[in-house]
Amino acid sequence: MAITILAPTPAAPVPTRRLSSEEGDSDLDSDGDISMSRPTKRRRTIITPGEIVTDDPQWMRGHGTFVSGEDTSIRSTLAGTLQKTNKLLSIVPLRARYMPEIGDLVVGRIVEVQSRRWKVDVAAPLLASLPLSSINLPGGILRKRTSVDELNIRTFFSEGDLVVAEVQSIFQDGGASLHTRSLKYGKLRNGYFMAVSGMGGGAGVVRAKRQIFTFQTTRGGEVDVVLGVNGYIWIAKHIEPETAGKDFSITRLEEQASGTMYSSQNDEIEVGTRREISRIAGCIAALVEAGVKVEENMVRRAYEASLDADAEMQEHSGEYLGGAKGRRVVELALGMG
């Protein structure tokens, strides 16, 4: 009896959930460049862990590489693309957890209250710490923190509060130390929190000049958007501060920091504003789903595209921007500008 061996049936094809790419501008890379310019899209090849990057001893190894014991070749520890900066080789991972850098604007949630500081979750490997001496006291008073402040520490921030802060310094083990010593930082209220994950070569929030900006929405008044570099995003109703109209100078900080800055009470938010907040949240979620970097310009374009997409649809499908409508919004947003 003859035995026939049939070839195995192939596995089901992986559904691609990303948009087809457009021919965007590509920066040209020249070796030996000091700035962190990326190579052209065509030349970017993936390097996987354990792969030998180079044998040449003239290169120094940077993040994402290691030298294996036997030979002096530099091998990669991550899956990502190669980045050459002068004589330094490093690997930019495709996706990585947020690593705090000094000067980053982050949105975080208080998870622990200790005697003289708070521990804040900023989607990093370690909890960030916010010392009591790094916050503005209500009323703008500039004085040394006393034990009475330590006893009243929960009146400032308690567990579960959301705070926008800046990374002041990094500890030896990589944990961040935050501060809110500016009127644009502090406790967040009147809004909606969302978290987008993924950094590196894929989607995510990029570091930009302006992380906090305001929308003039069509039907809902003004809406503030805070894009934390760590992927935490806050969309809120814009409340005009009492200092509007007066000039701002460093010597009058104490008069301008309001007494209600640590209040946990939300103000009244109208239905129209809530709809616009959820529309903006849907735009950002659609951008992340499509692998587009989230920053002010793209969010504004996506918002206008969502209004256009609404006009295109025959029936009014509300503010929900998932699935097919979300993809259409991102297509329109990439097409304009």
Binding site: T48, F66, T77, L94, R95, R97, P125, A290, G291, K293
Partner: protein, 253 residues
């Protein structure tokens, strides 16, 4: 019994038509769950495993375990009741499950660059949807892919596969062949071991054997297993590269 068939006697073909050194169909996807830091889905024949990785994140008992200079790796395995031939609910405290968890955790502790994330914990969650042999090997492979997807630095892939011997079938020692990648029926009857290597070389990082066998056959089985791991590594590498290329092609910078 799995080798008593006429096809083996005539043509040395196993129950599913494979020869002694052929792997089962290996299908892997990475980054399957957007919500997790890293995720993967792996099928080795009919053994199907989902893996998700969370972290590095601050460990819950921060003060107690605060003296660690490197990240801790915790593994959780959930074996579905419908995964085997008979429905069977396995508790988390099962001895075999805890041994698998410990093996996976110690294999990766030695391989990951954990000193870059002190005081934190990397949590690996494995869900077994279907078991048909090579369960520990599939778990190790799925964990490797998920850790690479999470961007946690490691020195090389840890790839694993099973190797067995036809020893119980052949009464004559010289006729005993090593077999690669046993399925469920073969694992029940034949002696086998799970070998995990670090990369494509010959560095063995995991070696588990639970059945009894003669010492003389061990070398041949190990050689077959290490060779199978080399093949698996190139397949997994292809999966990671294809996914990375798809991400880069669609990313708008």
């Amino acid at each position: 019994m799995p080798l008593d068939t006429s096809s083996y006697a005539l043509a040395h073909l196993r129950l599913d038509g494979r020869r002694w050194n052929e792997l089962r169909r290996l299908h892997a996807q990475t980054s399957t769950q957007a919500a997790a830091d890293g995720s993967s889905y792996l099928e080795m024949g009919n053994t199907k495993v989902i893996c998700t990785v969370a972290g590095p994140a601050e460990s819950r008992k921060g003060g107690g375990g605060g003296g660690n200079a490197e990240a801790k790796i915790e593994v959780e395995i959930g074996i579905a009741g419908f995964s085997g031939v008979e429905r069977k609910r396995r508790g988390k405290g099962d001895k075999r499950t805890s041994e698998m968890r410990h093996t996976i955790a110690s294999a990766f502790s030695a391989n990951l660059f954990a000193h870059l994330y002190p005081h934190s914990t990397i949590t690996v969650n494995l869900h077994v949807l279907s078991q048909d042999g090579s369960l520990l090997a599939a778990c190790l492979n799925a964990t490797t892919l998920a850790l690479i997807d999470a961007g946690i630095p490691m020195s090389d892939y840890i790839v694993a596969c099973t190797a067995g011997s036809t020893a119980s079938y052949a009464s004559n020692d010289e006729d005993a062949d090593p077999l690669l990648d046993l399925n469920g029926l073969e694992e029940q009857e034949l002696p086998f071991l799970t070998v995990g290597t670090l990369g494509a070389g010959e560095k063995v990082s995991v070696l588990i054997m639970e059945t009894r066998m003669q010492m003389t056959r061990l070398e041949a089985m190990l050689a077959a297993g290490v060779d199978g791991c080399r093949q698996i590594r190139s397949i997994l590498d292809g999966v990671v590269r294809a996914h990375g290329k798809a991400v880069l092609d669609s990313a708008i910078s």
